[in-house]
């Protein structure tokens, strides 16, 4: 659960891995967005939403926020990859029950900003982000999988 002391943070991400200006517009639900796709630049996907429905509209979006109702619910990892594979280049934010040790995996799936509802241990996060310099599999990030290092 969110720590009430941090309620003033609101929806602002505290961890952002992008150089552009944060997008301030409040995100609308997927249903609301699809009802009037020209009207909003930010969408919030709930865990069960089908990210592929955003496919025709990705170039209009500046922010997609993916909800993690529980850190155990991993549907958002696939949503992120689907969006990146479809060409989405805007901000992709993981929001909700997001834990330090999950952020490196989420980065690999294409998330580039994070709004965890609980305090993040900054030192632990930095260690986690620096720990794995190698990856076995290709994902949404630019890192070459190990097999490419082996075979060029």
């Amino acid at each position: 659960m969110a720590d009430p002391d941090q309620a003033d943070i609101g929806g602002e991400p505290r961890l952002r891995f992008r150089d552009d200006e944060p997008h301030d517009e409040p995100a609308v639900t997927l249903d609301a967005f699809l009802a009037d796709p020209g009207n909003a630049g930010a969408v919030r996907l709930e865990a069960g939403d089908d990210a592929r429905l955003l496919g025709p509209h990705l170039d209009r979006l500046a922010l997609v926020e993916v909800s993690f109702p529980s850190f155990r619910d991993g549907r958002g990892y696939s949503a992120a990859r689907l969006l990146r594979e479809a060409g989405y280049a805007g901000e992709l934010r993981a929001a909700g029950d997001v834990l330090v040790d999950q952020i490196p995996l989420m980065r690999r799936c294409g998330f580039d900003s994070f709004a965890p509802e609980a305090e993040v241990d900054a030192d632990a996060l930095n260690r986690a982000l620096d720990r794995y310099s190698l990856h076995y599999q290709a994902a949404a990030d630019a890192d070459a999988p190990v097999w490419r290092r082996r075979h060029g």
């Binding site: 619910d73 696939s78 594979e85 490196p104 995996l105 794995y132 097999w147 075979h151």
Partner: protein, 549 residues
């Protein structure tokens, strides 16, 4: 055998560092137990009734002597001097201290071992045929494919928080020694038009809702393997149920939407994923395959030395052991040795540190340095020169490892049960021991022939009771341990699910019931029929009548 390169080693080392960091944060209270739980599980660490249990991965069940000695060392130094081999071809230690776990992982990393993804809702250790590379009936060694999948699935960023655990098995023979179709995904390598590829089965499993996996793709070439698996897992990750832990396995999804609908979704996703270029080049599978090249077999052995004639069989105990526990090898003059970890009165799958060292020594001296763990919780020395069988047997006898009961009624698969496991409803180990005592007469055991008996101490089915020719399920009935009897299951190529006979029994009562079943089998069998054959011929009712009168 596969050997790590600098990349594999760096990743396992990073994992040790990561887990040390996580344990430190947990011990200092910076992480709650709820938050720590999925992290420790993905490193094989469970909290059981009395202590932590650490499950160490044995990829596709293959071990070198050096790795095996490390397993003995861990048993001695960090546990109580023994380890327990599991139905997933892994080993687990039941008396581990949390603060020791990072050091254990660091020691394992020195011999290219780890506990990565041996638990948790992720892709688990890949299992395979324990006779891989030795069986005459395989089209290829399945382990290079299993290793390719191991690497792809390790730390997979998208599939580390799946709805539920995910188990993959790879075989390459017509005979299924790995219960392939009782896995979330089962692969069987086949050759089509001269090309090696895989049949893909999806949605099998045991647990409280057992399912036999349907075929969803009749041929996936190596070049598409990882794309296809990525698509199959992605469809599961998106649609698998998360509202009910008991309905979260892929088998429920495949069952609810149907194999055809699941297949269609996977094919659609595969088309998109294939375009991403995530499949390694053929050179990667070739690199791995080269490491599984056959060992340098002695080729000056005449075929005449082949089983069963050319070895000295004058010792009747040795002859019985050879006939029971030794299987034909594809290389003339060689044999596959099965070492039973089911001695009378023992704990199925347990081995002491000293026994584990003996097995390592034997593999080094006589077995081209290789061992295998089987899903039936036994050990295999896959490459032994037939002329060395007497020496191997003598050493096994000395170590208490020469029980000649492979696939007999006393070769029982059993989960740890209520003696260790916090999920269990009933004890499995004492029941296994009582059954072994009832059928202690080795002549009687051999007369009963192949009879796979499997015991689970709860409905989660870790003891594979659904796949037992005779299965036993321990349940809790108003606070009393109660055992249900199942008949007719099989985890082999003739896969089937056992059927519950009716009301359950007490611990002693179920042993009596099993004996009534075997008595009926002896009474009605035809020459050459195994129990399972007779059961299938005469039907369930005949045996139900025998059990309940």
């Amino acid at each position: 055998m596969y050997r790590y390169d600098e990349y594999d080693q760096a990743m396992v080392d990073a994992r040790v560092d990561e887990f040390r960091d996580q344990v430190a944060r947990r011990l200092s209270g910076r992480m709650t137990e709820d938050q720590f739980k999925p992290l420790r599980l993905m490193n094989g660490l469970y909290l059981q009734l009395h202590a932590y249990m650490l499950r160490v991965a044995v990829p596709y069940g293959t071990l070198s002597s050096r790795q095996t000695r490390m397993l003995a060392h861990v048993a001695r130094r960090y546990d109580r001097g023994y380890g327990h081999f599991t139905t997933r071809q892994n080993i687990q230690y039941n008396w581990i201290k949390l603060e020791d776990a990072p050091d254990i992982l660091a020691e394992l990393a020195t011999v290219e071992m780890h506990a990565i993804q041996t638990s948790g809702n992720c892709i688990r250790n890949i299992s395979a045929d324990q006779y891989a590379g030795a069986a005459a009936d395989e089209v290829a060694d399945p382990r290079p494919w299993a290793e390719l999948i191991r690497q792809w699935s390790s730390f997979h960023p998208e599939f580390s928080y799946l709805p539920r655990k995910f188990k993959i098995a790879v075989i390459a023979a017509a005979e299924d020694r790995a219960a392939m179709r009782l896995h979330d995904i089962g692969l069987r390598l086949i050759v089509r038009n001269g090309e090696l590829g895989a049949e893909v089965y999806a949605g099998g499993g045991m647990g409280r809702t057992p399912m036999i996996a349907p075929l969803i793709r009749d041929f996936v070439p190596a070049a598409d393997l990882l794309s296809y698996l990525e698509a199959a897992l992605r469809v599961y990750n998106r649609y698998g149920r998360r509202d009910n832990i008991y309905k979260a396995r892929i088998k429920i999804l495949v069952h609810e939407i149907g194999a055809d609908a699941y297949r269609a979704q996977v094919e659609e996703e595969f088309l998109a994923v294939k375009a991403l270029g995530i499949d390694p080049p053929a050179a990667e599978l070739a690199r791995i395959t080269a490491m599984f090249a056959p060992p340098p077999f002695t080729t000056d052995l005449p075929d005449a030395i082949d089983l069963p004639d050319a070895i000295d069989r004058t010792d009747p105990d040795f002859a019985i052991w050879v006939d029971r526990n030794v299987a034909a090898h594809k290389q003339p003059g060689h044999s596959i040795v099965n070492v039973s970890l089911k001695p009378a009165g023992g704990i199925p799958g347990d081995a002491s540190a000293d026994q584990i060292d003996v097995l390592a020594d034997l593999a080094e001296r006589y077995g081209h340095d290789e061992l295998r763990v089987t899903h039936a919780q036994n050990i295999v020395l896959p490459h032994v020169a037939t002329r060395d069988l007497p020496a191997v047997w003598a050493a096994l006898v000395k170590a208490g490892l020469a029980e000649a009961n492979l696939d007999l009624v006393t070769d029982i698969i059993a989960c740890p049960g209520l003696d260790y496991c916090s999920l269990a409803n009933a004890r499995s180990i004492p029941l296994a021991q009582k059954i072994q005592a009832r059928f202690a007469d080795p002549v009687r055991q051999r007369d009963l022939g192949e009879l796979k008996l499997k015991i689970s101490g709860c409905i989660n089915a870790c003891g594979h009771h659904h796949a037992g020719h005779i299965g036993i399920l321990g349940v809790d009935r108003k606070g009393v341990e109660n055992y249900q009897l199942l008949l007719g299951g099989s985890g082999a190529e003739d896969v089937s699910l056992g059927k519950i006979t009716g009301p359950g029994f007490s611990e002693d009562g179920v042993v009596d019931a099993i004996e009534r079943v075997t008595d009926r089998y002896v009474a009605v069998r035809q020459p050459g029929e195994r129990f399972l054959d007779t059961y299938r011929r005469v039907g369930f009712e005949t045996f139900k009548e025998a059990v309940y009168g």
